[in-house]
């Protein structure tokens, strides 16, 4: 039962085959492995692509025998979106995390050029997430909830003619990223003969356009025969229904028409059973493996090559990822340092400019201050002159006053009251002199107040200028 290919490969590694002389017990190894997998649970992700109303949700419900979702979508979506839902199913001791991704609004737009793009992006994003996890330093791959799409059910409209352009375009863009299984939806609208012709037409169109759909594997002897037959029945013509009807003495899932009842699980009526058999019972593990080993590896290779990593260097010597990374890192650091230098230079320059400006300002202020000081000096001198003049006037006036008083005194020389008068007059004089003094002081005050305010203003300017410089 063990394949000879393994034996050949192992023998190539210089291992000698040994014969056991008794029961060792490692034949329980597959069981140990399976037990571990059961404990961890399985993941399976299905992507359903098809026009609105073609029966995607109904088919999934029928496949898994459950009502997953009741929402009916409208035909008026502006662009294609994807809706993903995850469910946990359990059967005997097997836990399955099933994710169903539906396209919403596919084929409804007037301009369908970009319809496939969101789908491609979604699939790439799942690969990307896995790649990111794999490239992490601290990673936990065995705990990772795998969201990569394992199979894509493509729903073809039962026109009976051929593939629509949109279908062809979408499938062409997806065939290298995901396992595609095309199904003919609502197969109860086509008669048997038309169906046969339709299937042949579809397959020939797919082949002639180079679309690679998923082929059931035929390398394992136990399932190769059945897989090969099934490969001949592609695309499966399916009918979905969750309503049960009494046919004969059993309750079966069926669709009731005035002219008869279409039974979902009747192989004569549609290929539903074949689809379920192939998808779930026989090839689920292979679908998962193909996704990981082929589609994901292709994505990873392309992505890493895009980033500039190669397996062989310029002289065709094997270069490890490490070396390439080191080289890139050096390059990057060089770049980083250069940018830092640039920024530093720019900063220094700006600072210099600012300093120059500030110095200018300071010089201007200084000049102004000097100018003001000079003005102030001049004014002061003027005032001094004026004061001198005034004083001279005062002295002159006093002299004249003294002279007139003398004359007056001489005139009243007989009366001694004159001297008293003189005294009184003299006493009056300080009053006058006081007045003058007051005038003087006031004058001085006025001058000094002006000076003071100007001085303060200059000080303020100077201080703020200094702060600015800081």
């Amino acid at each position: 039962m063990a394949s000879s290919e393994v034996a050949r490969q192992l023998q190539n590694d210089n291992c000698r085959p040994l014969s056991l002389s008794g029961h060792v017990g490692f034949d329980s190894l597959p069981d140990q492995l399976v037990n571990k997998s059961i404990n961890q649970g399985f993941c399976f992700n299905i992507l359903c692509i098809g026009e609105t109303g073609i029966g995607k949700s109904t088919l999934i419900d029928t496949l898994f025998n459950t009502s997953f979702d009741d929402r009916v979508s409208t035909h008026f979506q502006p662009n294609v979106r994807l809706r993903a839902q995850t469910y946990e199913l359990q059967e005997s001791n097997v836990r399955l995390k099933l994710t169903i991704v539906n396209t919403v609004g596919f084929g409804d737009q007037i301009n369908k050029e970009d319809s496939y793009q969101p789908i491609v992006d979604y699939i790439d994003a799942q690969f990307e997430a896995y790649l990111q996890e794999e490239l992490k330093i601290k990673r936990s791959l065995y705990n990772y909830h795998d969201t990569r799409i394992h199979v894509c059910l493509y729903f073809i409209s039962p026109t009976g003619h051929s593939l629509k352009t949109l279908d062809l375009l979408t499938m062409k863009n997806l065939d290298s990223k995901v396992n595609i299984i095309p199904v003919i939806a609502k197969a109860d609208t086509i008669s048997k003969t038309e169906l046969q012709k339709f299937k042949i037409k579809l397959m020939s169109e797919l082949v002639s356009n180079g679309v690679q759909i998923y082929q059931f594997p035929t390398d394992d002897e136990t399932i190769s025969k059945i897989n090969a037959t099934m490969n001949g029945h592609l695309p499966f013509a399916v009918v979905g229904s969750m309503e049960e009807m009494k046919v004969g003495n059993k309750m079966v899932k069926a669709r009731q028409y005035p002219w008869g009842i279409v039974q979902v699980e009747n192989e004569n009526h549609c290929d539903f059973v074949k689809l379920r058999e192939m998808l779930i019972c026989t090839n689920m593990e292979d679908l998962r493996e193909q996704t990981h080993a082929r589609h994901y590896e292709l994505y990873r290779r392309c992505k890493l090559e895009e980033m500039g990593f190669r397996d062989t260097g310029p002289e065709n010597k094997p270069v490890s990822l490490q070396e390439t990374y080191e080289a890139k890192r050096h390059e990057f650091f060089g770049e980083l340092q250069r940018k830092e230098e640039e920024m530093r230079q720019m900063f220094v320059q700006r600072v210099k400019e600012k300093e120059a400006i500030l110095k200018e300002a300071e010089r201007e202020l200084q000049a102004k201050f000097e100018h003001l000081k000079r003005l102030h000096q001049e004014e002061r001198m003027k005032l001094e002159e004026k004061r001198k003049l005034l004083e001279d006037d005062m002295i002159a006036f006093n002299k004249r006053k003294a002279a007139t008083e003398l004359l007056q005194a001489q005139a009243f020389a007989s009366t001694p009251s004159v001297s008293l008068k003189k005294d009184k007059d003299r006493k009056k004089d300080p009053g006058f002199r006081l007045e003058l003094l007051c005038f003087d002081v006031r004058d001085h005050e006025i001058v000094s107040v002006q000076e003071q305010s100007e001085r303060e203003k200059l000080e303020r300017d100077r201080i703020s200028h200094r702060e600015f410089q800081k």
Partner: protein, 350 residues
């Protein structure tokens, strides 16, 4: 076949995705349990069969290393474990053969098949361990070898175009042979196990257990266990990797009662009570290797091969290899994640 009643309602958890082209769509969250509503057999559990078939086709790798001073019966034990002439014993070393100056690492691969399961078994022998006068750092070549295997695997994994199945040469299990002195562990034993329990699964084994009586055996085992605990040596099955309660209780029992296994190896058959069994013949009786009353070989065999083989491989892959990888990538600044190269570099810069 299926559990639960059919009356429970389902709450579907939705995560809507934004239509803008280059935006990363949300990962579907919050799975909903629906074991309640399966109204008929679907066939999900056939995945077990599919998986089993797949693994049988690809075959298994298993690499076991034996470490211990010469003459402790390493080769015999491996032969007994796998019931074939896996190692060629050096039956008393000839005077012409020199003792190896340093520890040599010899890996010999075999292909064995049983019940349709093909296994590539590699036995890694370490002649020269502990045999010199000065045994300082004699574990270093062994540690180097183990790390080299991790390195090989890492290189393969990191390639752009990878092989479908990376050849696994990493050491899954290391049997360390303890000399049955009856007293306690030797300093060399402690040093070796301290250094290597962090990189590989170590299973300590008391060799040539037929030199001890039952009481001596139990006492010795207790002392050894105590010493290992005092020195902080985590041998397989490590406490921290017990996944659930079931594992824990099972492993606790093994850890606290059976380990280290006191074994006797033999590849000669003798007639006892009309049956041919493996054993050692002595003037005072025949020691039956597979008799649980005589020695614990059967326990070791069941433990390593029949119940924990896959677990040994998984712990090596998920824990020891990941530790090595993380350390290695950290030392070199790490492989860049696919988009945020600048951030990562900045971090490592700081």
């Amino acid at each position: 076949m299926f559990k639960g009643s059919a009356d429970n309602k389902i709450e579907a958890a939705m995560s809507e995705l934004v239509p803008e082209p280059r935006q990363k769509p949300a990962v579907p969250m919050k799975p909903v349990g629906i074991n309640s509503n399966l109204l008929g057999y679907i066939g999900i559990d056939t995945i077990i069969e599919q998986m089993r078939k797949k693994t049988m086709k690809t075959g298994f790798d298993f690499n076991i290393m034996v470490v211990g001073q010469s003459g402790l019966g390493k080769s015999t034990l491996v032969n007994t474990l796998f019931k074939s002439q896996v190692s060629r014993k050096s039956s008393g070393w000839n005077r012409e053969e020199k003792i190896p100056k340093t520890v040599e690492i010899k890996a010999i691969g075999h292909v064995i098949e049983e019940g349709g399961v093909k296994m590539k078994l590699t036995v890694i022998d370490t002649p020269g361990f502990g045999d010199q006068i000065n045994n300082e750092n004699c574990w270093e070549p062994i540690e180097k070898y183990i790390n080299e295997q991790y390195e090989k695997f890492l290189k393969e994994e990191v390639n752009i175009a990878r092989k479908k199945r990376i050849p696994d040469t990493r050491v899954h299990c290391c049997l360390y042979f303890i000399s049955p002195t009856g007293h306690s562990l030797r300093p060399l034993d402690l040093e070796f196990m301290k250094h290597l329990s962090k990189v590989v699964n170590i299973i300590p084994v008391i060799a040539k257990a037929d030199t001890m009586t039952l009481e001596e055996k139990t006492e010795f085992k207790q002392r050894v266990r105590k010493e290992l605990e005092v020195n902080g040596i985590e041998f397989y099955p490590q406490k921290e990797f017990d996944e659930d309660l079931e594992d824990k209780t099972e492993n606790d029992k093994i850890r606290q009662e059976s380990m280290p296994f006191a074994v006797v190896g033999s590849d000669k058959e003798y007639q006892v009570n009309g049956k041919r069994i493996l054993g050692r013949k002595t003037p005072w009786g025949v020691i039956e290797v597979e008799n649980l009353n005589h020695c614990e070989f059967a326990l070791l065999r069941d433990f390593v091969i029949r119940t924990h083989l896959q677990d040994l491989k998984e712990v090596t892959h998920n824990i020891h290899y990941e530790t090595y990888r993380a350390k290695r990538l950290n030392d070199n600044g790490g492989l860049p994640p696919v988009t945020t190269e600048t951030e990562e570099n900045h971090e490592s810069n700081l």
